[in-house]
Symmetry: D2
Subunit: 465 residues, 4 copies
């Protein structure tokens, strides 16, 4: 059983959900690195991006009331939404110095229409009884901060995104501005979503199709550091205006080793993938948002790779975790999602325990779900991952909620609309949202606050840990 | 929308559900052809049967209250159960002549314990608000009527099952006895389930593992005729004691032809598989019970095969309908069940129309479902087949209900427990029944009497006809 | 290196090779149990036989000169052919008593045309320098000895095939007659081919489509005993007229156990499958003909099955040996043939050693090959199995030759023409024989008497034992 | 039948074959763009290259005599080898002006040891009766001409490879120097191999792992133009010293369109992929070397893509030609190689006809083969592609020879040793070369100069066009 206070809900973001009509794309929609990235010729011709465009998406910007109602109808009490930085500040804020009078000056150049629209969205949530959980940055950066095409080609530019040392400060301005504007309505604050993914896929694992796909171990490290600094500054900035919890959302990965108890590589991997960033922000976070999808299985690298003061002594074994055939089976015998991700709920349990032990903060599962257009596995994913949460809670871990990714199908970055994570199916033509069967399972759980009625049926042996 | 009077429920049978504890098997459980068939050495050594035994099953005999409650909790208003002939009359009734005083004499040799237990079962159904739908024969025959091992080996025996010309009369005795005993509690009567399957798999398609697996076109025909006669006699017998509807349950197959509109083979196939039997009983049935699983795709046979006054001018094309790889895909791109049966709801629609047109009787879907242990497709099966039902109803076909096969996993004949058709999972060790996710979808539909909330999400294009 | 005396050749049989033109089928072609079996309605309708007919076959009866020339051109020095009993004696020989004057009386009723044609075949072999290796019985029985349709249906008949106690004597008459007629031309005699297969598939594993597919452990045992007696009688009969080696051809199976060194089941299996028959004939054989295709992997049966004085304490594990997916992979990772048989040459080595140790006789590999229409694996099969032979020879086993099954595609019993074992492809329309690529590899080996040139290339790790 | 003058042989290159011992890598081996490319951290960490290293390769540099003997033993009369530019001129030749005295000055800075070793190689070929076919450039460029790592990262560099306008002249110097040195021994000259691949994979289809993987349609065009100019200059340079035929080797692609006779896209594709380069060099080539592997199936692009004065109006359809699953099946039902390339011999026939018609030059098939470690398809590939050659010759196309790629397994660029194209298997540990079964088929054909003996056996219907 989950306590009454435990949040059941879903997570959304700005770029992936807001747009939905190519005829209504305004200049404001076009000012992010991702907007130009997904229509770049090099990316398109080489299959680096899908060719799908965000303006054909779920259209939350227009249909937010319908989506909020859907949430309520299916037992949710919380929605996490994203604010798109470039909508609020489509042009540079660099000229405005930090300090006295900053907010008023920012207000002059801020896009008021966007500010007001976000308020309408939040007010509708409140009116429907939903807690307002706001995340300030989810991958996308304003073009005046990041020019990914120039960066990739090695062209001279100062728009280096998080690699620029002044980006954290600009972020803090934006964060404080939002806090100033919305402190009276927001229930939960998050600075940013998955900073490590931005750094790792942008500068290290460059085949994933993330901007700028420019290999540079130095920049990988710098991007991560600057994102940590940005969070810390934003935390203080928000706290000036709001007494609600401020946290950060991070995509944690659990690691299993081929050799049992191979601590040497386990700790190296856990540190690189999880603790490195979190340690830098741990004093400025009221809770930790835990995004979880699957594990990695790793083995020892014959020769460790060194860069800067980092050392990498392991590699990922194919056939498990994130490295499975799309829509196939993991070598564990478990199904893999349409993304090729193994269903591995025990990883969430292990991580909740480990994060709790290391940081002793309240935790919220801020993302969990599966790319599963046909809804073959989603019910089991929900049940089994909540089993992991419940087990951790029973053992003393303070988990405050479970926000599913996501309520409706949306724009999955470089993969476009081919990867469908929605509890409800999004008809991209008609802009309708039809609950998949699993959404009724979600409702059953949210309403009863229990998964006991599902225990005993475990077709993939997901709940045997 | 389905009308208030439309029945939502599930179907069960005797042999497949009742037993559940090897330590409680009594002599009475052992008196059917199937009981000896599934433990015969020839069958076991050659993989003709699974090796699973019915006494390890769902244990409805003991747990009927739990299963009835499950039905009620998930929106069902009707359950179809089976009465096991050999339990009521474990020894021969041949000595008792038809006519005056027959019932009292039958009562002397009937197994009272079984009669009373069936009454307790039905009373519990009533108490819980469930309509009582009783079917009198579902494949199994008492051993004193059918000795399948002797028949298969060509050994001299008069226990030829439905091939014996006196079996219809014995059946009528049994039917009248049951009607006499239970007329005050039963809401719907059915004489028998899928007579054609018994004839076809017993004497024609002998690789399916059904007793007696003795190829004989003559006996195939005779078995079918005698089962028709048995139904007709039973109809009159039941009507003497009950004014409730009496019908027959038949497994209809829809046929698609490789060449479009190949009437020559279509009509031959429809007649052989569907109309031949039904035409013989059409004047003695108040409704027709329609079991539907999938279609057959057929093509013309270069040389027709003749036997008796029958002619077969077609053959089944592999890769469609019943002839798909287990757990794979049909050549249509649709998923096939763990039984290798294509999901093809349009066939149900076509059949309801055709049966309605030919017989103009009320119809009840008395079986529909899927072998799907992991519940990957069951929700879509329910939704799409109810779509077929609704479409037929909108076009004037009188359909009175939908009984899913089945409420819990049970004993699937020669395949044993490997084919799981339950809305709820049966834990065969603990004898517990845990609703699968799809059962919540069933509940949603039964409670709202609607599938509109699912329209628009159709991941396999099942609802485009 | 193989010695000069080592025979390289191929094996054929009568029924599978002789016929080839439906317009030339004479009554004489029709007098075997298999001829009626493969056109029986029950078998056809149930997919028990393929529907392919032997009269559309390779037409050796007419084209023997071409096939002999093909053998010579590709380095063969020996061909094993079969004589079809029912051709020589299309009607019963029972009236002719054993003893004085028997041969002359048999000669009166023998089919002279067939006798002369077989002589022409053998003379052509001799003329081309091929050794004449004659096998007297290969599965088929004359209809006057075996009526498989009656047997299967349990109809009263005295035509019980090898189950009849007088069949061995009839066989001995036939054998002596042939020896009398052909002793001046035959180089190697074999009484019969794979007696165990006839018994096992006829009376025990009845799903393989072999006549009479009538389950009876008693008859399985009796059939085997009578075939052993038949061999022993035939041995003496042939020896009266010929001083050439007389042997028997047996399909040996190697057994691996799931639990290492599981002697209890290993010895039971080896005895049942291999030694039981061979022990009965070991004193009447000048050599042992070893047919080898693959292994079986077995595991312990929880409860042993007893019949007569036999006990079966193991079962075959799916995914290995004979029990693999057709055209797929064994669970060992090795390819399986189009018959679903794992490529497992080490089994031949183990068997040659074991047979040598138990019987200390000269051995000849009388069959080995693969159903591989596209010739993907046949070269490796030849090389790796000759590696097994060479290794055994190097360790002291006396192996005298390797006869591939077969030189051209032929009629594979219940499977018809779908399983192609030929070194040369048979064009069934044009009756032409085109050497597959692997036949050039065979020629290279036969001419150099060596496989050394292939060692070092072992793409499936077949030669690592 | 192929005429006596028709060359049967194989093709090799420098970088892919020469090295073979990490302990003997000298500075001279390290001076190519590919040498640094395949050990770059970015490439390794992102799976852009295999991790295999060329210095573990077939070791032709040391073992050339063995490989030449292998060629002779298997019926070859010609070998095409490559000379590695950076071995001859490990440092820049830019300082030496074109014209009078150039050769002597080049001789001063040329690496004499390499020159002499190449002579030894050619002399051994001659001594064994092999025609010497020399190609001067096969993908690799000296590091002093091309710094692929700098180019990819957009770092300032003048080492732009073929994008530099002075590279053609440097190539001409190198070509003339080689012609001056080896004119008395070389039988066939080729300037370069597959210039279009270098341009296309370097600057357009950048996911193939070829240096510099820097997307730039402008540079794609420029690289192609400069390579054409380089060929034309080299042609004249060689002709000063040798009267033997000078040509160019090009990888032609055949295109099939989804819509039949879709000339609009067919001609666009043929021009871009084949004619654009060839038209620029057609007046300076004595023969055309045709490399052929498979086709592309293309369909119309809704919106054509323009760059410079080029227009691309088609895209490649997955599942055919080069775009098949590795080791799987093409959508045509034909097997795909381990590289995912459909076996499509008719494309070679169509191309030979089209090239002949457009240029009317003698043609030589300079590459054809398959990545097929286990040799499942190679025999059929050889037979069916020679069928295409023979058919074109019968229709008047002047084809002079067939050089298989390749005689032994070698280093397949970004894929390393995982793609094995050898007629003989290369044991990379022992540096031995074991003929695969298909090499005996090659020998049979080369010796008989005929494929007639294989006609009639066509398991994949490859020879039905």
């Amino acid at each position: 059983m989950f306590p009454k206070s435990f949040m059941f809900g879903a997570s959304l973001s700005g770029f992936q959900f807001e747009m939905g009509n190519p005829n209504e794309v305004k200049e404001l929609d076009t000012q992010t690195d991702w907007f130009v990235w997904v229509r770049d010729l090099e990316n398109l011709l080489n299959g680096i991006v899908s060719g799908d465009l965000p303006e054909n998406g779920a259209w939350y910007w227009r249909n937010y009331e319908k989506i909020h109602q859907l949430a309520v109808d299916f037992g949710m009490d919380t929605l996490r939404i994203g604010i798109e930085w470039s909508r609020i500040f489509p042009s540079s804020t660099k000229e405005i110095p930090f300090g006295e009078g900053m907010l008023e000056k920012l207000d002059e150049i801020a896009n008021k229409e966007a500010v007001e629209h976000y308020r309408r969205i939040m007010e509708d949530m409140k009116a429907k009884g939903l807690k307002v959980f706001v995340n300030l940055n989810h991958f996308t950066l304003p073009l005046w901060i990041h020019d990914p095409l120039a960066v990739r080609k090695g062209k001279p530019t100062d728009k280096l995104g998080w690699v620029s040392d002044n980006t954290p400060k600009e972020f803090a301005k934006y964060a404080e501005y939002i806090a100033w504007k919305f402190s009276n309505i927001v229930d939960y604050w998050s600075s940013m979503n998955e900073p490590h993914v931005v750094a790792q896929l942008g500068y290290f694992q460059i085949m994933a199709g993330f901007p700028p796909s420019y290999f540079s171990p130095e920049w990988y490290i710098k991007s991560l550091k600057n994102q940590a600094m940005a969070h810390n500054l934003a935390y203080d900035a928000i706290k000036k205006h709001s007494d609600k919890p401020v946290g950060v959302i991070y995509s944690f990965t659990w690691f299993d080793t081929v050799e049992p108890n191979d601590k040497g590589i386990f700790e190296n991997a856990m540190w690189l993938a999880n603790w490195n960033y979190m340690d830098q922000v741990k004093d400025k976070t009221d809770y930790i948002g835990v995004n979880y999808y699957t594990r990695s299985v790793i083995d020892k690298l014959p020769t460790p790779i060194k860069f800067q003061d980092f050392e990498l002594n392991w590699y990922t074994v194919r056939g498990f975790g994130y490295a499975c055939p799309e829509g196939g089976l993991a070598l564990s015998g478990r199904p893999a999602s349409e993304f090729g991700w193994e269903i591995y709920p025990e990883g969430l349990y292990y991580l909740l325990k480990a994060i709790h032990e290391r940081y002793n903060k309240p935790l919220i599962v801020t993302e969990n779900g599966i790319a599963d257009e046909k809804d073959k596995y989603r019910s089991q994913v929900i049940i089994s991952h909540l089993y992991a949460v419940e087990k951790a809670m029973n053992e003393g871990v303070d988990v405050r909620g479970y926000l599913h990714w996501s309520i409706v199908d949306n724009y999955e970055w470089a993969k476009g609309y081919s990867k469908r994570f929605g509890l409800a199916y999004t008809d991209l033509e008609k802009k309708t949202y039809i609950p998949r069967p699993s959404m009724y399972v979600f409702r059953e759980i949210a309403r009863t606050r229990s998964i006991d009625q599902f225990k005993g049926y475990d077709p993939y042996n997901l709940m045997k840990f």
